[in-house]
């Protein structure tokens, strides 16, 4: 019974059990991630995981790579410092929708605009899970949360549209059900130079599903199964998510644009070189 799982070397076993609830999609997303790490062919000593605060913020602590668990909303600028100070690193920001889109939203759009070489994995459970299920900028219209007890009346962000419009060179969305496809997207994002963004729609049985009477984690997975539409190359603008509506998933954007560090250093070499 003591046989090791072949992926164990990429997890900090001494930190398991993790803190996530039964039925949460975070665990399966991490499984995909460690498979993608292997598939990517990257030197894993040069891959760094940075998280912010929240349930997803704990990912950094479980993955056996150089990892940083930072402040709420600041994973992306922290990662910007790492990525620019040592361009040999592949920096992955793994955090939640509240962390990356609300308190950290400004950093997301600017890192994408600059095309900083990093992969941002945003696990979207439609609300603030760790603090007890409060409404957030991704909560679908009319969905209930502890601070929207009568339903949410704020229009949510469409994350893939936001990332694409801000300049991300790779944008994909999957649910926690799409393990094989998610792993493939993560692998592609890891191999891509520049700002890549992956949204993972994840069940939150404890807060989101319970309050909205959507059943348990399995029921949410069943919902994803019945309602996800795979549409590669779809216009991200058309991929809004409503309350219990169809979810458009797939790879939306995959384009080439020089990442910021390359663009900067090559540009400066031309100008400053002349000043010598």
């Amino acid at each position: 019974m003591n046989e090791k799982h072949p992926m164990d070397y990429l997890l900090r076993e001494d930190r398991i059990p993790h803190i996530w609830c039964p039925g949460c999609g975070l665990g399966s997303s991490v499984s995909c991630f460690i498979m993608a790490l292997e598939d990517s062919g990257l030197d894993l000593n040069k891959v760094v995981v940075v998280s912010g605060i929240g349930c997803t913020g704990r990912v950094a602590g479980y993955i056996n790579l150089d990892s940083f668990h930072t402040t709420h909303g600041r994973a992306i600028p922290f990662a910007t410092g790492l990525a620019l100070a040592n361009p040999e690193l592949k920096v992955v920001v793994y955090s939640g929708d509240g962390d990356l889109i609300a308190i950290g939203g400004n950093h997301l759009i600017h890192a994408a605009r600059r095309n900083i070489n990093m992969t941002v994995i945003c696990v979207n459970n439609f609300l603030y899970g760790m603090t007890g299920g409060q409404v957030g900028p991704t909560t679908p219209l009319y969905a209930k949360a502890t601070t929207s007890p009568y339903g949410n009346f704020e229009r949510p962000f469409n994350l893939v549209y936001l990332a694409a419009a801000s300049g991300a060179v790779y944008v994909a969305r999957w649910t926690a059900l799409h393990l094989r496809r998610l792993t493939k997207s993560m692998t592609e994002a890891l191999q891509k130079k520049g700002f890549s963004f992956i949204e993972i729609i994840s069940p939150c049985p404890t807060s989101y599903a319970r309050r909205n009477r959507l059943g348990d984690g399995l029921d949410q997975m069943k919902f994803y199964h019945d309602n996800s539409i795979i549409r590669h190359g779809a216009d991200p603008k058309e991929a809004d998510i409503g309350f219990q509506t169809k979810i458009v998933v797939g790879k939306f954007i995959d384009v080439e644009r020089p990442d910021y560090h390359t663009f900067l250093t090559e540009g400066l070499a031309k100008v400053v070189g002349e000043r010598k």
Binding site: R12, D14, R15, N45, K46, V48, V50, A60, G61, N64, L65, D66, S67, F68, H69, T70, T71, G73, R74, I76, P77, F78, A79, T80, G81, L82, A83, L84, A85, N86, E88, L89, N106, H107, H110, H261, L264, L268, V271, V272, R275, K276
Partner: protein, 384 residues
């Protein structure tokens, strides 16, 4: 790197902000993240112009929250890093200064103080962030802060800040102000070999034996960088020596007192003050930054009247030279503390003299330096 452009050895007529930037480059800083703000923008401008010559990375972030986070990230990539700001931006940086203190991340934050609160006096001076420097982030921690009073000191103290930050693995603050930042004076940049630069306290042993938060005897742990194969975990949560989060009272008791004590127990090694004529003084003026320079004129006026006035000029403001202030307290009729705020460091002086002598604040709310005659009058009043 462009040859011979790293350290601009020689005599310059240079403003304080530029001198600060040159000090950072001389100290080995190669990553800068900042956000424009008066009166600190000239530091960023100088760095953005100079860094390509020394293979440094300058990035203008979207705000000060991001700037502070970015320099922490860069420091963990193994590169010495800095940001600069003024009051409002300093407020925004506080949370991540706390992350720097908790994760023991060397970095330098320069605050060219202006008058506050809020937007206050954007273009003119204040010294109103001195207590914020000490207590600005939430939770218990100790910090190192230096106070320059001239462009030369901005050069010298910026290097000193980098060295202390590396030595004690704590964010080090350079608490300048608008006047020292914007004044131009002679700045002497020494040859490279005369500039003392303290390297990072690196761990180079085997990964399996490495405990990232196991302190050396002086309570400071050794550091590695991301990408070196050690697979470290660094968190702002209370953590054990492995760096793993442990959220309980026992772990807190082991960690937080060490973070505080690595500064407190090494305080005598960290603290630097400049004393003038304190041995036979009747009154001592204790001041820092630009107010210290104004005070020298007041002392001249007092000496003309035959009053023996000593001067304690703070180089390190935090940790505060409490032992020395207490020693001096029993020898003098009083301390005069001029500062451009409604009273901050004066409370620290009052705490340290333990009632043994009088302490008088010479306050100025900001926007201008003191009239030396106000300080002179306060010196006189002590002896009345």
């Amino acid at each position: 790197m462009i040859k011979d452009r790293e350290i601009l050895t020689g005599e310059h007529f240079m403003n304080g902000d530029f001198a600060c930037a040159e000090g950072a480059i001389a100290a080995g800083c190669r990553f800068f993240a900042g956000y424009p703000i008066t009166p600190a923008s000239e530091i960023a401008e100088r760095i953005s112009e100079r860094f390509p010559e020394v293979d440094g990375i300058y990035i203008q972030m979207e705000d000060e929250l991001g700037s502070m986070a970015a320099i922490l990230g860069a420091s963990w990539a193994g590169v010495k890093s800095m940001t600069c700001t003024s009051g409002p931006g300093f407020s925004l940086m506080q949370e991540n200064i706390g992350l720097g203190a908790m994760t023991e991340t060397p970095c330098v934050v320069v605050n060219m103080q202006r008058g506050g609160p809020s937007t206050g006096l954007p273009t003119v001076l204040g010294q109103q962030d001195m207590m914020q420097a000490r207590w600005g982030s939430h939770g218990d921690y100790e910090i190192i802060a230096l106070s320059p009073s001239s462009p030369q000191e901005l050069f010298d103290f910026t290097i000193k800040a980098f060295n202390l930050s590396e030595m004690y693995r704590v964010p080090a603050l350079v608490m300048g102000d608008e006047v020292v930042g914007h004044m131009s004076e002679k700045v002497v940049i020494p040859p490279k070999e005369e500039i003392e630069v303290y390297p990072r306290r690196k761990y180079t042993g085997p990964a399996e034996e490495y405990l990232p938060y196991k302190p050396d005897e002086d309570l400071v742990p050794q550091m590695v960088a991301a990408g070196e194969g050690y697979r470290i975990h660094v968190t702002g949560l209370t953590h054990d020596e492995k760096g793993y989060p442990v959220v309980d009272a026992e772990a807190q008791k082991k960690l937080v007192p060490r973070l505080v004590n690595k500064i407190r127990k090494n305080a005598e090694k960290i603290i630097e003050i400049e004393e003038t004529n304190t041995e036979d003084a009747e009154v001592i003026v204790l001041s820092y930054g630009i107010s210290a320079r104004t005070s020298f004129r007041a002392i001249e006026l007092a000496e003309k009247e035959g009053i023996k006035v000593g001067m304690v000029k703070l180089i390190t403001v935090w940790p505060f030279p409490e032992k020395r202030v207490y020693q001096l307290a029993s020898k003098v009729a009083g301390f005069v503390v001029p500062e451009i705020n409604c009273g901050q460091i004066v409370y620290e002086v009052e705490r340290c003299v333990k009632g043994k002598t009088k302490v008088t604040l010479v306050s100025h709310p900001g926007g201008h330096i003191h009239d030396p005659r106000d300080i002179f009058q306060a010196i006189r009043n002590i002896l009345k």
